[in-house]
Symmetry: C2
Amino acid sequence: MPSVTVDGKRLWERLMLLSRHGARTDGGVDRQALSDAEIAARAELAGWARAAGLSPFTDHAANLFLRLEGTEPGLPPVLAGSHIDSQPTGGKFDGALGVLAALEAVESIKAAGPTPRRSIEVVAWMNEEGSRFAPGMMGSAVYSGARKLSDIMQVTDPGGKRAGEEIARVLKADRDIPKRPLGRPATAYIEIHIEQGPILEREGKTIGIVTGIQGKRTFRVTVTGEENHAGTSPRAARKDALAAAVAIIKALQDAFWDKDDIIRFTIGRMIVEPNAPSVVPAKAEFSIDLRHPEAEELCRLGDLIEPLAQANRGPCDVGVRQLLHDPPLTFPVEIRDMLSAVAAKMGYSAMPIASGAGHDARYLHYFCPTGMIFAPCEAGISHHPAESIAPSDATAATNVLAEALLRLASSL
Amino acid sequence: MPSVTVDGKRLWERLMLLSRHGARTDGGVDRQALSDAEIAARAELAGWARAAGLSPFTDHAANLFLRLEGTEPGLPPVLAGSHIDSQPTGGKFDGALGVLAALEAVESIKAAGPTPRRSIEVVAWMNEEGSRFAPGMMGSAVYSGARKLSDIMQVTDPGGKRAGEEIARVLKADRDIPKRPLGRPATAYIEIHIEQGPILEREGKTIGIVTGIQGKRTFRVTVTGEENHAGTSPRAARKDALAAAVAIIKALQDAFWDKDDIIRFTIGRMIVEPNAPSVVPAKAEFSIDLRHPEAEELCRLGDLIEPLAQANRGPCDVGVRQLLHDPPLTFPVEIRDMLSAVAAKMGYSAMPIASGAGHDARYLHYFCPTGMIFAPCEAGISHHPAESIAPSDATAATNVLAEALLRLASSL
């Protein structure tokens, strides 16, 4: 079996260089999907890839691939990557680590030689975060066939720009990057990601072998009341949409309170109209993000939302719309065992860990054998300018990835 | 005692003509303070006044006066009016009725002759609504000395424009309207306004003799938590600013629930940050509008807010800032009795009524003897495109105003 060791210093330098695109003054990164900052980051990635002898490609969803051609180019490639878009108040590592670790792994494999049998492709999926165009994981969803390209093209950002226009703009900005079809078969997909939680750090482990991704349902609740004057309308005559929203949220909080703290229930977004201090709100719209590792429990909990909203709407009207229902998933044991074996061989401490967050690996899971490696992140902080990881942990995860990719690319 | 009857048809026509400035497609009016629409409305008002033999004046706060010169011009004038700015989703009558009724009354008085002893001035106070530059009642507050001109000049609208710049723009657009000093003494001030509540309609009364204005305290509550990932952060580790805001609002709702439905408690505005569906909110800021007709009770209730916010903030931080504390006020009995006597003499059904909303009369009350007349409005609806009044009710209130102004202007 061939072996490979990555260049941790080069990986770290590239993480810092990439973070300049969309850099915030507070040390964080704001690199929205399909933005100018992302265009610049793509160009830098493609430049590094070409210098390393890899070939950049893209597709109609503006996913970016950096390919190391194998000795049998006709075989489905091994994929590894993540995304390079960020939350508006994001950090330097969420997504970027997975892409740059894959680039580092492939570059090290190429340098170590000999050329593996199967091609290996680094991939940066388009719009994982979904903060500009919701919901996220657009590129991986379209690539894997879970969503239609024509659907995502119509999604608009808060400024009214269509994703389709912005994809066209990004593809036009790409210099000499050929387009290939969506959904080309793959041998496997491996994604490194920061844990975005405190467990690896707490347990003192270097490598997280991800067991699966918890299930997620999202909803939009729209409460419609009636605008009225704050000084003249008695409480009994009001249809106060915000008051009804508060009652509904309180009822949901009570219903979703679990002693073991397994349920993840978040109201992250609320919009009030007309949102004026002296006007009784006519409308309150809020998001629900509900997650659970067990499929049945996720169904049961999510199905409580509509009846609880109706029971607590007071004099207002309420509508509940489910936007997404992704059941929990478990990555194939073969991939997990292989990653564990590689980590053990290299002497890294490792542990199985469940993913609370969704990742592009969610969609790839239904497309080809998929696995994930988590790297510890400081105090579990992510989606925040303070997001931080230890360079040695990044190197360790990348070493495991490189060895795993080499094994997958060498497989028969 | 001289007598006068107004022209209800002319009044109604002018109400419809004025509503073209800032007309919404839904029949409502969006005429923001110091906007182009308001500039056009001022020009039309000044034109009507000049045609009727009145002289327009303004001041450094862009209040607009239309003066009927009395036989003894040195005496403090009698003032009557309201405002011509509107809420963004306003109707045709809130404010406009008070100004156009005063114009109609004065024009009728002049036409009926003889010229009264004291001058009478129609006034349109600058920025009553406070929807563009907050808080409202700016023109009457500055005129009466409750606020400093230099303070209001610095207030900015949501687009960052300073009120001072916009006042200068409006004054520049005025054609041949001389400026006079702020705070010139007045004999009395009478304001007609739509009730903005359902009581007169319900009681079948034509004229409301306003007893006073309930007290009002406003607050801004800022809850600061910590941004976190909706999928990975356990409830116990969260500092969820929206969850804390909901707990605080619930506690306030419970504390301010009164069987008799006298307390007016409104959360009209809420801003969540970063306001993303999959991010635990780091910040939630909301407004409180609290009103009560009794000074002591208003103090007691408002003073509960800070301790209740602190007791229910959970793991978050909370700050409570009072923006305004206007105690309740009672208009002088002499003015109320005079208005009642005029209504009775004219055969209109009338009743005393408390004002739930604030009006420019609030500030004039501390400046000169002040009173208000309420006109019924359909279903109590105001601050809404559907705001509606009966032409006969508008005429009745204006007849009472004309007679009252004539009495005040004829007084020794």
